[in-house]
Symmetry: none
Amino acid sequence: MYEDLLLKERWTLIQERLNSEGRIIAADLARELELSEDTIRRDLRGLAAQGLCVKVYGGALKVSPASGSLTERTASVPHRKAALAQAAVGLVSDGSTIFIDGGSTNQLVARFLPEAMNLRVVTNAPAIAIELGSRTNIDIILLGGRFDPHTGSCLGSRAVHELGLLRPDLTFLGACGLDAAAGVTAFSFDEADFKRGLCQVSRAIVVAATSEKLGTAAPFVITQASALAAIVVEGSARHDQIAPYTDLGIRILRAGKDQP
Amino acid sequence: MYEDLLLKERWTLIQERLNSEGRIIAADLARELELSEDTIRRDLRGLAAQGLCVKVYGGALKVSPASGSLTERTASVPHRKAALAQAAVGLVSDGSTIFIDGGSTNQLVARFLPEAMNLRVVTNAPAIAIELGSRTNIDIILLGGRFDPHTGSCLGSRAVHELGLLRPDLTFLGACGLDAAAGVTAFSFDEADFKRGLCQVSRAIVVAATSEKLGTAAPFVITQASALAAIVVEGSARHDQIAPYTDLGIRILRAGKDQP
DNA sequence: CCGCTTAAACGTGCATAATCGTGCATCATC
DNA sequence: GATGATGCACGATTATGCACGTTTAAGCGG
C-alpha cells in the first residue's frame, strides 16, 4: 500500500503520523513500509535533527507543545494574548465550523488551533486566512468586501450581507470593550455593524479579553453581554472583574488554567 | 502513446501529473516517455527552479502550500520580479479602478503602486490587501470565497460571482503560462475558472511574465493571447520570444526601460 | 533496594546500487 | 553557423541494508 515512497514522502508520512498519533515506533513502521529498521531510524534521526520530532528509545515522539513548537511560535508574540488564545482554542471541537473575527488576539487563536482537527474556518480578516494557509485540514472561507486597514478586516456591506449565508457553531468575536452593563462594544460604526450581524447568525459567541478591556466600553454597541456563551480572561483577572459575567450565567475561562 | 512531445508539452504533462498524483518518479517517467532519465531530471530541475515543484532524491514533489505558496516564491527571484512590477505600474493612471490578481509578481505590483495616486484596488489575494493597508489614498476591496492556500487567493464560486459586480479599468492578471498560440494558461481548473471570469469583466488586461513563462503553457486555458492589452517582459527577453505578441498587436513593455 | 541477565534498540563502518551533476558529442531547427 | 534539446560517459553523492560491537530498558533473583 505504501511501498515505493520517495525519501521525502516518507518523511512527510512520518510527520503526519506523528501529528495524528503522537508517536512512532521504529520497528512497526519498518515492517509496515517494508524497509529496514536502520532506514527508519535514520529518518527519525534526521527529523529530530531539524527539531521536527523528539527521538526516544524505540521510536520518536511529537515535539511536546510545552517545550517545542508552541514556545517557538509564542516567542515573538505578546505573552498575555498568546495565553488567552491558547485557552480559547479549548472551546473548539473537531469537525465544527467556526468564525474568527479580525483582531490581534483572534489571529493568535487561529495560530493555536489544534493541528489535528478538521475544521471549517470563516473569517473576515485576510491575515487569519494567510495564517491558516499552511493547515491542510482546515477549510478556509474568507469574507470579502471593503478592506478596513485600521482593523485589518473586511467590514463593508458586502461582508455583512455574506454573513446571512453562514451559521457558525462557534464565533470568536473581537471586542474593543467589554462591560457587563454596556455589553460588547466597538470603536467604529462599521465595525459594530458587521459584528452585530455576525452575532445574529452565530450559535455560540466567545470573546477573549485582556484585563484592560474588562469593564470598559467603546462608543458603538455590538450586543449585550448576556448573548455571550463564554469569556476568556487572563489568569490574573480579579474576582470583581469577572463576577458580573458569572452572574449573567456566562462561562468564564481563565487563561493558564484548565477548565473548571 | 506519449512519444514526440515538445519540450513545453512535456513540462505541461509533468505539471498535470504533479497536480493529480502529487509526485513524479524520474525513472518511471523516463521509461514511460521513452526518454533518458537525464532529460526528465533536467525538466524537473527547471520546474523546481521556477518554484513549480520540489526536487527530491529520485524525482519531484508538488509544492506544499505550507512552505511554498508565497513566502518562498516571493523570495526566490526578487529583483527580477521587482523589475517587472516596477515597469508594470507605469500602466496605472490616477483615479482608476484596477484589479490585481493573486501571485507573487502581482504582489510586487501592488507594492510599487505610486504613492501619490488615488486608486481603487480590487483583489482576490489577502496578502495584497494587507500589503496596501498602509496606503491612505487607496480604496481596497477584497473578493471573498474559499481561500486556496496554494495560490494564496480566493477562487471559489463566490469570488467568481462577485466579479460580475465589477468593471475594472485595468487588470493585472496572474498567469502560470503565456504562449501566443495557447494563450494565457493556469495550473488548476478553479484558478483558470476565476481568471476567465475576471478577463470577461476587465476593460484592459495586462500580464507580467518572467522569461521562463514566455512560450510555456499550463493545462487550463484562461483566454487567448489577443485579449491582452499589454505584456510586461524582462529587459533581457529575446526578440523571438516577444515577436509573436507584437504580431498580435499587443503592447510590450520591457522592464528596466522606459516605455517606447 | 541492588546487581545480574537478556533481548531489544542503538550507532558505526562498510558494501552496493541507485541517483545525481557535469562535461561533451550528436542531432534537429532556424 | 548558432542555438538548444537530447543522450552518453564519468566521477561524485546519496540512500539503503547488513554486520559488528555497544548501550539501554526491563525483568528477576537475591
